[in-house]
Amino acid sequence: MVSGIPLFPQQGSTLAADVDALYFFIVAVTAFVALLVTIVVIYFAAKYSTNDPLEVGARIHGSIPLELAWSIIPFLVTIVIFVWSADVFFDLQRPPDQTLEIYATGKRWMWKFQHLDGQNEINELHVPAGRPVKITFTSEDVLHSLFFPAFRTKADAIPGRYSTVWFTATLVGEHHIFCAEYCGTNHSGMVGKVVVMEQTAYEAWLTGNVGGGTLAARGERLFSDLACNTCHLSDGRGRGPSLANKFGAAERLASGATVAVDESYVRESILTPQAKLVDGYQPLMPTFQGLVSEENVMALVEYVKSMRVPSAAVSRAEAPAEPAKPTVPQENR
């Protein structure tokens, strides 16, 4: 900061420093080239200037070695930037295996966050410092974008599918949340703050804000209210596949392809059930599009995730269809 002018966002997460380091490298490269060419041009303009309109310049047409040099060397520099930035990008896009999950939806013009223990927040997000946090979110209407400048990360909220961002916050305090995809009248009002807390303060906040049960418990209630449990029997003999231990596994489809059962697939199965039909089952499931809000879909997703049954209790009917060990999906949507 220079007398009140912010020149730089705070480094609020583990990856912020990595992004900044890359940024500074590119600044250095840019400044070097810009200064070099500027100085050369001004020097030539001054040194070779003339007021005689009939004077002509030297008869020079080019130089292949020079052309190769100033094509290849910059290209190599850009490769360095590319590889380095790809590395940072992988880190930004791939959360670690164990993350604190939070669900969110954007709608015009607010951000709604749902914690696993049932806390709901609007335009404010409390997170613990030092733990990886992953936010799975979508939009309920038009495109939005969830942007945390302090964490150097964002992703678009796209109606019809899930996006994720993840971060490990390091700097305790409040930081900006911005919507970064134009969404209409109050786009610049769709802002909030992420409150990063020490672990003890965070736990105190959690206990002080609970009401209505965990997200998964809400999902369980919906599962029965919407009669999902009438087809998805846990012994595998229902009209729909059992969902016990399904999350994280690979599922074989009627088309022959395999799909990873992640948040997106569960959501898709609720809203467009015929799109990726499980092998061996009839296309009977009705769509719940319009009957379930995106927030309630997230509760159902959490419930399905929680349906982990101890291995001894897995029904014999299912055992052959499952792989030996559930795989954790890494794909990004």
């Binding site: 088309s255 467009t272 059930p273 015929q274 799109a275 296309p283 009705p286 769509t287 599009q289």
Partner: protein
């Protein structure tokens, strides 16, 4: 450049010009090459124009193969095949028209162009009946769309693309029809000679292109899953 013509002295009024040579060109040959190149470039733009819709079609077909199969079965394959034959026939008559103009047969040129127009009109009339049937079955996307079964959403996308692609094609056919009317009139007025029949030739290019677009549209829209893999 194929003709390296030396500078000619004085203004261009000193030697007789072919009536059809425009003043900014040096020769009929240069003018003809320019016109032909121009029409080919225009057709390339048309490929890109339709291309966006073909791209959308391809993506959605890969994502929703069942919906595509079901929706495609709602189209009348007999009418579609008939129309395909009609258009291919009209390209044949167009080719004969160009040949007639090339050989200086004025009346034959007019006749072949009129035949081309007639076949084009047949195509459009059949299309009208097909669209009418779609209206009656509520297969036109929008608030009145109705489609049985769980594939209704993607089916509406299929029909959106169906109407956009065939509608755009039909619009090109109508424009082609108007162009042919003008060319037929010019031929009737004996404007074309074996030295200069460029408008017939480049209109022919345009007509053939519109035909080729249909030859892609027919299998893509009408022949999805005739073998019933997705039934």
């Amino acid at each position: 450049m194929s003709d390296a013509i030396a500078a000619h002295a004085g203004s261009h009024g000193t030697h007789a010009h072919h009536n059809d040579l425009q003043h900014h060109f040096d020769s009929l040959e240069q003018q003809h090459e320019a016109a032909t190149l121009g029409m080919w470039l225009f057709l390339i733009t048309e490929v890109l124009f339709f291309g966006g819709l073909f791209l959308a079609y391809t993506l959605y077909r890969v994502w929703y193969p069942v919906a595509w199969a079901e929706a495609s079965r709602e189209l009348d394959i007999v009418l579609g095949a008939f129309n395909t034959a009609v258009l291919i026939g009209s390209s044949l008559t167009m080719a004969f028209a160009v040949r007639a103009a090339q050989t200086g047969k004025q009346r034959a040129t007019v006749v072949w162009i009129l035949l081309t127009m007639a076949l084009g009109l047949v195509f459009l009339i059949v299309k009208y009946f097909e669209y009418k049937e779609k209206f009656e079955h509520h297969h036109v996307p929008g608030p009145n769309f109705a489609f049985e079964g769980p594939q209704a959403g993607p089916a509406q996308i299929y029909f959106s693309l169906y109407f956009l692609m065939t509608g755009l094609h039909a619009t090109h056919m109508i424009i082609g029809f108007v162009i042919m009317a003008v060319i037929a009139w010019m031929a009737h007025k004996k404007r074309f000679t074996p030295e200069w029949y460029t408008p017939v030739e480049i209109s022919g290019l345009y007509w053939h292109f519109v035909d080729i677009v249909w030859i892609f549209l027919f299998p893509l829209l009408y022949l999805v899953d005739r073998a019933g893999h997705f039934a």
